[in-house]
Amino acid sequence: MRSFFRLQWSGILVGIIAGGIALALSAPAFLSEFNLFVLLRSICVSLLVAYSQMVMLGVGQMNLSVGALGGLVAVVTGGLMDALGVPTLPAIMIGVAAGGAAGFVNGWLTVKTGINGFIVTLATASAFAGINLGITKAVPFYNLPADFVAFGNGRLGLFPLLLIVPLLVTVVLALFFSRAVPGRHMLAVGGNAPAAQLSGVSVPRAIISAHVLSGLLAAVAGILAVAQLGSAQPTIGSDWLVISFAAPIIGGASLAGGAISIVGTLLAVVLIGLIQNAMVLVKVDPYWVQFLLGALILAAVWFNRYRAVRVGES
């Protein structure tokens, strides 16, 4: 039991369980199959967005272009399907590849120019958003293949089909960061870049790989968002910034780098989804979600500090 509470994400799990019970008691609609489906579907995109930023925090950098990149991939994929009539699977593959390429641009610019990654991705965020708007003129792509839209809305009981993707990604990422050499090298660079370099780890390669991975994840998030909405909206991604940082940070990631938690990030996304769901169920002003998210971030970082001091880590 004691060791459970030493885990970084124990507090979030307790919050989810307590919140879930309270919600089930106060709003019976919470446990309806449809509501749980809606809840689960709402976390799919957020989870990938959170992972996209978490990867960057792992290597000790930030990616402010997660949203713009996801939005760009969303309209590229939608545009391929709608305007050019590309079939679903090739369109998705091209979209994902475009995300990886955009991530590579971020990483390459960071490494080659030596400019702070914060500024680089702030600039590329603007650039990606510009390309997005230039392509779409702010008009969404609506004519998407039926199979693609069906996937976005389909479900097995309370489980949305969409959930398959983030679950798969979770397993792959968990394996990648705990057991794969490139994943370990990214965390090593995030933990102590000069040390990693002197140990023979290629720091530029780790940083560029992390950016590519972050781009791929944001791309998948963008494509899932299109499937879920049934149209490729140019505004996809414009509100991802806060959640992308909030979930990994609430989940215990440190901005200093090298310390991330996949379980923590997953639980944080679930908790945030639960709060959003609760606001709808108890018919509270939806603006409260934003307010509570801010409070939650502060509470989480404060709690993490407090716990670190108590456990004697700091």
Partner: protein
């Protein structure tokens, strides 16, 4: 393997770090690399380990020219280094740190069972008993040092570079390290041993290469032909100057600071002493004895949790450095010059004026660069800070001149008590002698000085009285009779006696 550096040169913006430096390292020898700080040792090591590429000159491994583009290249060729900075990943396990660039894998994934087994082999080799699964952030500094050596061994290094490996080790730990070095040497490794401790070098090395101002003044001289004096001459270009000795003087000035039974959050217990104006009180102890921590508590950086402090005869509680300076006229010259002493980005006049902005401002906190220059000028002149202009950023100055700027700041503040922590670490011998002289003069002018130093000769040359700290307690105190042999016997005796008592008590 034999490693040869042939006339390597390297320049950085504004500095020529190496000029035609040469080195010849043979298998089965311990080769010492010596030089003062800034002589180019680190640059040479970084060239050998692939961190920097030389602008000119060649690197040869067993007679074939090699070109290193990254540390990875060096490691692959069997050249490994244990660097001065702590080069471990805090949240990774001991095993993973040791094997970082060459983690054993199965089906593409890291095989931790094998990694732990393999790492254990290297730990046994150096005699470190610690669970390979422990995260290194939970280890002691000495253990981390050993892990780094294990890491170098795991690279199957034929050429091993040890950069100041004993800096953070206790005597016993250092002995264990030397035994290991001797064993590796017997197994045919070529070992480059970088140290500024003459005794260590004379005891363990076979040959020595000395750098001065980026040039090699001795190349591969057998240590048997060397003496302390010849080494120093090679390093500084002339014979060692004996540090100025202040004539012993009874302290008669008014008491500036009195500590009675002080305890601190850092762990000090029952600390009592007084410092008078015009007196240099020495605080000696081994690394980790708690001297710097005491200094920090005295200037309000750390918490005093028990006992009492009085300043100028009045009880005092010091909650911040600002309060220490402004209310009690107490200053602290930090041992960590670059991070705590000076602001590298800003000009000299800015740094010197930092402590006296309140005084310089006439109306509404109004400041001018000219006002700062005028205030800083006399101190820059008094301390002979060598610079074309007070507008020069402190980052462009040499270590010695940076230290003078740091000191000037406190002189400008006109403090009555200055806590001086390791004032001459990393400073060339000429400036060092100058700073010693200056500290003596400041005391003669009535400043109360609490001097912290790990260099006993410095302590004996300067202090009027020497307090000995061991494990966060003051264990003894002696009047300084300026005889190095006698004082060193007394001081070290006190430390050992106390250490023995602690062991007996257990």
């Amino acid at each position: 393997m034999a490693l040869t550096v042939d006339k390597a040169s390297k320049s950085f913006p504004g500095v020529r770090a190496l000029k035609d430096a040469s080195l010849e390292l043979k298998p089965g020898e311990v080769h010492a690399l010596m030089g003062e700080n800034g002589a180019g040792k680190s640059t040479l090591i970084k060239i050998i380990t692939g961190v920097h590429r030389p602008d000119g000159g060649r690197l040869l491994l067993d007679g074939t020219e090699i070109s290193l583009n990254s540390p990875r290249d060096a490691i692959r060729l069997g050249i490994s280094a244990v660097h001065q900075e702590r080069n471990l990943i805090p949240r990774f396990s001991v095993a993973e740190n040791i094997l970082l660039e060459n983690l054993p894998r199965r089906a593409g994934l890291v095989d931790y069972a094998r990694a732990n087994a393999e790492a254990k082999k290297y730990l046994e080799m150096i005699g470190l008993v610690v669970d390979t699964r422990t995260e290194v952030r939970h280890l002691s500094v000495a253990q981390m040092q050993m892990v780094e050596i294990a890491k170098a061994l795991s690279h199957e290094a034929k050429v091993l570079l040890l950069d100041e490996p004993t800096a953070s080790l206790t005597g016993e730990e250092a002995e264990a390290l030397f035994a290991l070095i001797k064993r590796l040497k017997a197994e045919g490794a070529a070992i480059l041993f970088v140290s500024h401790k003459l005794e260590e070098v004379l005891a363990i090395s076979d040959r020595v290469t000395v750098l001065r101002d980026g040039e090699t003044t001795l190349i591969g001289e057998p240590i048997a032909n060397m003496s302390r004096g010849r080494l120093i001459e090679a390093m500084i270009g002339r014979a060692e100057r004996i540090a100025v000795v202040r004539p012993p003087k009874p302290a008669t000035g008014a008491i500036k600071l009195e500590a009675k039974g002080v305890a601190t959050a850092a762990g000090h217990r029952d600390i009592s002493f007084t410092v008078r104006r015009g007196e240099i009180l020495g605080l000696y102890g081994l690394v980790g004895a708690g001297r710097t921590e005491l200094a920090r508590a005295l200037v309000g950086k750390d918490k005093v949790t028990g006992g009492s402090l009085s300043i100028d005869g009045k009880p005092a509680v010091i909650r911040s450095v600002e309060e220490a300076l402004k209310r009690h006229r107490v200053g602290y010259l930090s041992e960590d010059r670059k991070y705590e002493g000076v602001v590298l980005l800003h000009p000299i006049r800015f740094n010197v004026a930092m402590t006296i902005w309140d005084r310089l401002a006439k109306v509404l906190g109004f400041q001018t660069a000219a006002g700062e220059r005028k205030a800083a000028e006399p101190f820059a002149r008094q301390l002979e800070i060598r610079t074309p202009s007070l507008e020069q950023a402190v980052g462009n100055l040499s270590g010695g001149n940076q230290q003078k700027v740091s000191l000037a700041k406190w002189l400008a503040a006109k403090v009555d008590l200055l806590v001086i922590d390791e004032p001459t670490v990393g400073i060339d011998i000429k400036t060092k002698a100058y700073i010693h002289e200056l500290i003596g003069k400041l005391a003669d002018d009535g400043l109360a000085i609490l001097l912290i130093s790990s260099e006993l000769p410095e302590m004996v040359a300067l202090a009027d009285r020497i307090l000995v700290m061991h494990e966060f307690r003051l264990v003894d105190g002696f009047d300084n009779d300026r005889s190095y042999e006698a004082m060193s016997r007394k001081v070290m005796g006190a430390i050992h006696r106390h250490a023995d008592e602690a062991v007996a008590a257990e």
